[in-house]
């Protein structure tokens, strides 16, 4: 699967009038600052790219684009299709207006990890198997890909697409780590240690709302945090309580619907490991209510909109701390 093939596919479908617009990734000023974009003509497709920095999940854009007239072509990586399915389940996307083309993903790169290796003046970044070759104004440097991959790609849940109209993917082998090991490590700590850990992390929050805005599950028309009466709308966290509250509520509102796409951590300018909060919910749901992967299908009931009569009581879960 070549980038030129993807581009060709997009321009063919635009020219034939089968689709009105294409959602993809657009070249930025540097090789590594790509943005999701909508392309409406073949000329605009000049700027279309698909490379190691296309980590952005495009499914959320379909909420708006699929309601426009005409079809929308969208390219999706395996993890994006889970979010897409979840949004379909919630009736947020008009399925008939979307044409999904599945494309391969071999794990995406994290520019901050590359920069933290002391590599400066980056001109271009190329992938070559397990190596990443970075051309800088000071010469060429090479790094192992595994060391500069996005957190979400290191613990990739699947390389298989769960929804598409047409597949251009040839299949990639999935070699990822256990995604719950970090959560388990935190659970093994004492309450005081966990408290210190989260205070340290959450106190970095600047309430930019990027985690909320990028999340495909977090797409209410009116968000609780935009409600003027909530006392926490459109302002920075006033104190420790608000920092904790914002993140607990944000994660709770997507619990059972979060596909673990990892976008929240990817976009956090403060590098807070937000996925660890979401994954805790996923881990709890898996252990208490049975294995559940949000977005794996479009017709099952989510764990929080379902129940069984013999669910455990909260006091039983905590080992009878009465």
């Amino acid at each position: 699967m070549q980038v030129s093939d993807i581009k060709k596919k997009a321009s063919e479908m635009l020219l034939s009038g089968e689709v009105k617009r294409v959602i993809g990734w657009k070249k930025g000023e540097f090789d590594y600052d790509l943005t999701p974009a909508t392309f409406e003509s073949v000329e605009e497709l000049e700027d279309f790219v698909y490379d190691g920095f296309c980590g952005a999940n495009l499914s959320k854009y379909l909420i708006k684009e699929s309601k426009k007239e005409g079809k929308t072509l969208v390219f999706m990586k395996p993890c994006d299709t889970y979010s897409f399915n979840q949004l379909l389940k919630e009736h947020r996307i008009v399925r008939d207006n979307v044409y999904v083309v599945a494309i391969d993903c071999e794990g995406k790169l994290d520019i901050d990890k590359i920069k933290s290796k002391g590599i400066k003046g980056i001109l271009s970044v190329k992938e070559d198997g397990d190596e990443v070759i970075i051309d800088t104004i000071y010469g060429e440097s090479k790094v192992v890909k595994g060391e500069v991959m996005l957190e979400k790609c290191l613990t990739c849940k699947s390389k298989e697409h769960v929804a598409y109209d047409e597949s251009m993917a040839q299949g990639v082998e999935n070699v990822s780590l256990d995604r719950f090991s970090e959560v388990a490590k935190l659970e093994a700590m004492t309450a005081d240690e966990r408290y210190e850990f989260w205070r340290g992390e959450l106190s970095k929050c600047i309430r930019c709302n990027a985690c909320r805005n990028v999340c495909p599950a977090c797409s209410c028309v009116k968000c609780v945090f935009d409600n003027d009466a909530s006392g926490v709308s459109a302002k920075s966290n006033a104190n420790e309580f608000e920092e904790s509250m914002f993140h607990i509520i944000r994660a709770f509102h997507v619990a059972g619907r979060c596909t673990d796409c990892g976008e929240c951590s990817r976009v956090c300018p403060q590098h807070i490991p937000l996925h660890l909060i979401n994954r805790k919910f996923i881990k709890d749901i898996n252990t208490l209510y049975g294995e559940y992967q949000a977005g794996a299908d479009v017709d099952s009931r989510g764990p929080l909109t379902n129940y069984t009569t013999d669910d455990l009581d909260p006091s039983d879960i905590f080992g009878g701390n009465k």
Partner: protein, 144 residues
């Protein structure tokens, strides 16, 4: 001389209208005693309790929050408490994960006929919170 304020824990109890609130009423009319620092908030169903309510209670100075509802299977709205049970399990587990003492939150099922159970639960919970001391990890100093 600076006045030393004595610590009395504040406990917020969310009670469902159909069972637990009536249970509290029965505890009162049976002249059973339970701590006066338990503040009851009546909700139509335990399912009405939003995670934000629990956090807001802590923000406004609660040292412990307890949610009471009908026994599973007895919900006035058939299944409200089953949903509430799942939600609260996840929320309390998350609070524990964030390092907030797990004893500060609790769910109990109290029916309208269980006045004595209501008083017992509240006495016991108040004792636990008293031993734990003030809520420091989810406090908001502006609300103190």
């Amino acid at each position: 001389m600076q006045e030393v304020k004595e610590y009395t824990p504040l406990i917020v109890a969310f009670c469902c209208n159909w069972c637990s609130y009536a249970g509290a009423d029965l505890a009162g009319s049976s002249r059973l005693s339970y701590p006066a620092n338990v503040k009851i908030i009546r909700v139509p169903c335990s399912c009405r309790v939003n995670p934000m309510f629990i956090l807001k209670a802590f923000q406004r100075g609660a040292d412990g929050v307890i949610m009471c509802g009908c026994h599973p299977g007895d919900c006035h709205y058939t299944s409200g408490n089953y949903y509430a049970r799942r939600r609260m399990s996840l929320l309390f587990s998350m609070l524990d994960y964030m390092g907030i003492e797990r004893e500060r939150t609790r769910v109990e099922w109290v029916s309208a006929a269980e006045g004595a159970k209501f008083a017992n639960v509240m006495n016991e919970f108040a004792k636990t919170i008293n031993e734990l001391g003030e809520n420091k990890r989810l406090e908001d100093l502006r609300c103190k």
